[in-house]
């Protein structure tokens, strides 16, 4: 009989640890061997000795981390390819979260666990879609694990943004968006919707956009907002990290419409508290229904929840007759990058 995943996959302070493989998945502190789902800072930390991830994730880590910190030894794996470490087979399968994001499929003595990392089910022109994999244990996040979260179709939110851009044609629209994933997705969605004017970028967003383009994601005419004059930015779309939209940086814009693109924008008071006038509910995470739908597709009898609103999700699993387990891993989703 195949061993239950809890005998060979264990939560530790550093993160989830695969005993027979001797590696951590998305460890939150520097370790000997790490397998990494995607490049967001709470999942991809600096200083590991050996890192296994997709070529895109490794490239993202190199762009974001100081020289030599993105893993002393980097090993890239193509999605679908199987790597063996001791008796464990490791396979990476797209998670649909950001460029290069993958679920990690582990098989050991006939028992299979899927660590999904962060994922979403809405189509995203900048990354490969999530693929459900049948397994014995499905490890999921629950960032938006409450039934109040239902992310509308992103194209509807883009349409609202474009309506506002034409309504306030003399004002810049300053959109707070995370630098990795959200920024590029917003740009790609705007291009899909036929918006081909130049899009202006905060300096912190430039490198990752260039990296996306290197990997074949076309983003159109991008220009630095930092050197553009006030007049050129009137009526334009400007992207900046969320922390910059209500900061001194925004003063270079003349009376901008402050917008933000995040799943949290669903909650009005939260949107308001961040000083946002035009909240755009665009998320790179699965909403409540998408989490439940994904769980059903994996046909896993047991679900482990890494972080987020785990109490609600575990209660719902109970109602569905599935085993739920909160791993209570500390350190994910708290650095402001998760949405």
């Amino acid at each position: 009989m195949a061993p239950h995943p809890s005998t060979w996959l264990q939560p530790r302070p550093e993160g989830l640890f695969c005993l027979p493989g001797g590696f951590f998945i998305d460890p939150t502190r520097a370790v000997e061997r790490a397998v990494i789902t995607h490049g967001h800072a709470d999942h991809a930390r600096p200083g590991h000795a050996h890192v296994l991830a997709t070529a895109e994730t490794l490239a993202i880590m190199r762009v974001r981390m100081p020289e030599g910190k993105a893993g002393a030894q980097q090993q890239n794996v193509a999605p679908g390819e199987t790597i063996r470490v001791n008796e464990v087979a490791i396979r990476l399968v797209p998670a649909g979260h950001v460029l290069g994001s993958c679920q990690i499929i582990l098989e050991y003595q006939g028992s299979r666990a899927v660590i999904s990392g962060d994922y979403k089910r809405q189509p995203d022109p900048t990354c490969a879609p999530f693929e459900p994999i049948k397994c014995d244990v499905f490890v999921t996040e629950a960032t938006f694990g409450l039934p109040i979260f239902h992310h509308p179709d992103a194209s509807l939110e883009i349409a609202r943004l474009l309506a506002s851009v034409s309504l306030f044609a003399h004002r810049a629209h300053l959109i707070g968006a995370y630098g990795l994933g959200k920024t590029q997705r917003l740009i790609a969605l705007l291009r899909q919707a036929g918006y081909d004017a130049p899009i202006f970028l905060h300096g912190a967003l430039v490198k990752l956009c260039a990296l996306y383009e290197e990997f074949g994601v076309a983003l159109g005419d991008l220009r630095p907002a930092t050197v553009a004059d006030k007049a050129a930015l009137r009526g334009a779309i400007v992207l900046a990290p969320p922390s910059a939209i209500s900061d001194r940086w925004a003063r270079r814009l003349d009376d901008p419409v402050i917008a933000a693109a995040s799943g949290w924008m669903m909650v009005r008071q939260r949107a308001k508290a961040s000083g946002v006038e035009l909240p755009l509910v665009i998320s790179d995470h699965a909403d409540w229904q998408a989490i439940l739908h994904s769980i059903a597709e994996t046909e896993a009898p047991e679900i482990w929840v890494t972080h987020g609103a785990e109490a609600a999700l575990i209660h719902q699993l109970d109602l569905l007759g599935l085993r739920g387990r909160a791993l209570r891993l500390i350190g994910y989703g708290d650095d402001g990058e998760a949405p």
């Binding site: 409450l146 039934p147 909650v267 008071q269 508290a273 946002v276 035009l278």
Partner: protein
């Protein structure tokens, strides 16, 4: 209903006062009667639907959503209406009735049928409309715009003086048709008449050190600042009312005061619990507030009285334009002639120099007194908060340096921030014991720093409460320390608030329980 929901949504996301005024003015100018009147009533909190209380909505949502999931969601969102609106499962179907039809349906539908009715409206609404609908029917409308702002928008839109609206406001009822008829010049201004109307009270500015230096002390009269609630007593031949400062009619809670108002005048004063001539702590007065009916033993246990300090009307005569000294003289003459029961005069404090008052204020640490009031002898009675006429000069708070122990998310605007803090002091054996909670006294930037710090330094979670490492020191200000059997520390702080963050102070050097106990009043 959609137009009203859109107004609320835009008000929520609009930050500038002028932009909000424009939105409101635009709404009042465009929407038909009686819809705009009901919208105004909703902002005034003047609509009451006995069949539609929050408990009914909770019960209604429980028929559609798992209760545990609802509670967890409510804890996250922090706002009942928004939680219900977001979690409501039905897809949008049709369109709900308009605002006026909803008000009329709620008034005429039998109580037992109201939940089902609300359910169908929610089924037919999008999220924004659901929120507006729920806020409307439960009366919990916090729209990011006060009633005063709505009145100001009306005044601007229809070119009338805001005070002209305030004067007649309490004689009007929803949907305020005579008000709109007057504003649009179809009818004369409704007469305030002889009804016991609420008049906007005159409010004081806090006296800062910079003001203190500029004050010409000889022009001011001093009184104690009583620690009760500010009330307006309005008695005319056609009725008697007791109003709170915020224009709430609180007559029903204080029937003995109403009974004692056997005169014809409008008076300004402080409602206090007074036993044998001694003012009781504010906590005693709290026992009498927010009660619709009052048992006789409650009245006996917490006997109230009014300490009078100003007069707005003597008989039918409006005396507000007279100088304060003149009004005070009239008030004294009237008081000695009328001798009303359960009322006395707030004494004036004689002083020669600023130094006399500084000394008095510093020693004024006893029940019932919060500090001093300074009123310009020449000041007319002006509603609102006119600059420089009345000053409140509170005694300095006591303070302790306390360590943040637990944090919880706030409600409303702060619903996703860890904004409610429990703090403690060190015991002799170096354990932290909680001494109080504070929700205010930090800037937005500090709140956002604290929120991030708390998330990164959580050592344990108990449901919505996070326990954090001892690492943040607050200087906590409070008005008094009282013994408490409810707190492990044995002490409770009155009106605790964060005076400032002390990033310079290591947690280990915060105050001790011994130091806190030494401040017991």
């Amino acid at each position: 209903m959609r137009a009203f929901a859109t107004l609320l949504e835009r008000l929520l996301y609009t930050t500038g006062r002028n932009a909000k005024l424009l939105l409101l003015a635009d709404y009042f100018a465009r929407r038909p009667d009686p819809e705009r009147g009901f919208a105004l009533a909703a902002m005034a909190g003047a609509l009451d639907f006995p069949g539609a209380k929050p408990a009914i909505l909770r019960a209604l949502v429980a028929t559609r959503v798992d209760p545990v999931l609802f509670e967890l969601s409510y804890d996250f969102v922090g706002d009942l209406a928004e939680t219900i609106a977001l979690i409501w499962p039905a897809p949008v179907q049709g369109a709900p009735p308009d605002l006026a039809a909803i008000v009329s349906a709620l008034r005429t539908t039998p109580k037992s049928e109201v939940p089902a009715l609300i359910g169908t409206w929610l089924d037919d609404s999008d999220v924004a409309t659901r929120i507006a609908l729920i806020k409307l029917i439960t009366g919990g409308l916090r729209v990011g715009a006060s009633l005063r702002l709505a009145k100001l928008a009306l005044a601007q839109q229809f070119s009338v003086d805001i005070d002209a609206i305030e004067e007649i406001w309490h004689g009007l009822t929803p949907p305020y048709q005579p008000l709109f008829d007057w504003l649009e010049r179809r009818a004369p201004r409704p007469e305030p008449g002889a009804t016991p109307m609420f008049r906007p009270p005159m409010l004081a500015h806090p006296l800062e050190l910079s003001d203190q230096a500029r004050l010409n002390w000889a022009e001011y009269r001093a009184e104690w600042k009583w620690d009760g609630i500010r009330v307006q007593l309005a008695a005319t031949p056609s009725g008697r009312r007791l109003y709170s400062r915020g224009a709430d009619d609180i007559s029903a809670s204080f029937p003995e005061i109403i009974a004692a108002m056997d005169f014809h005048a409008v008076l300004d004063g402080e409602l206090l619990v007074i036993r044998d001539g001694v003012v009781a702590p504010f906590a005693d007065l709290q026992q009498r507030l927010n009660r619709k009916t009052i048992a006789a033993r409650h009245r006996a246990a917490y006997p109230v009285a009014v300490r009078l300090y100003d007069m707005l009307f003597e008989g039918a005569e409006d005396v507000r334009a007279f100088a304060f000294d003149e009004r005070r003289a009239r008030l004294e003459r009237w008081y000695h002639a009328t001798k009303p029961a359960l009322m006395d005069l707030s004494p004036q404090i004689s002083f020669r120099t600023e130094a006399d008052l500084v000394a008095l204020r510093d020693t004024a640490r006893r029940d019932g007194i919060e500090g001093l009031m300074l009123k310009a002898g020449a000041s007319p009675y002006v509603g609102g908060r006119p600059k420089g006429l009345w000053w409140k000069w509170k005694r300095d708070p006591l303070s302790l340096d306390c360590v943040l122990m637990y944090a919880q998310r706030g409600h409303g605007k702060r619903s996703s921030f860890y904004s409610d803090y429990t703090f403690g002091v060190w015991t002799a054996d170096r354990r932290l014991v909680p001494v109080g909670k504070a929700y205010s006294g930090y800037t937005d930037a500090e709140l956002s720093f604290l929120d991030r710090w708390i998330r990164a330094h959580t050592v344990a979670s108990y449901g919505p409460v996070r326990e954090v490492e001892p690492g943040i020191v607050f200087e906590i200000g409070f008005d008094a320390a009282q013994r408490s059997s409810r707190h492990k520390s044995g002490i409770a702080l009155r009106f605790p608030r964060i005076l400032r963050l002390r990033p310079d102070k290591p947690a280990a050097e915060a105050d001790t329980l011994e130091a806190a106990l030494a401040l017991l009043g």
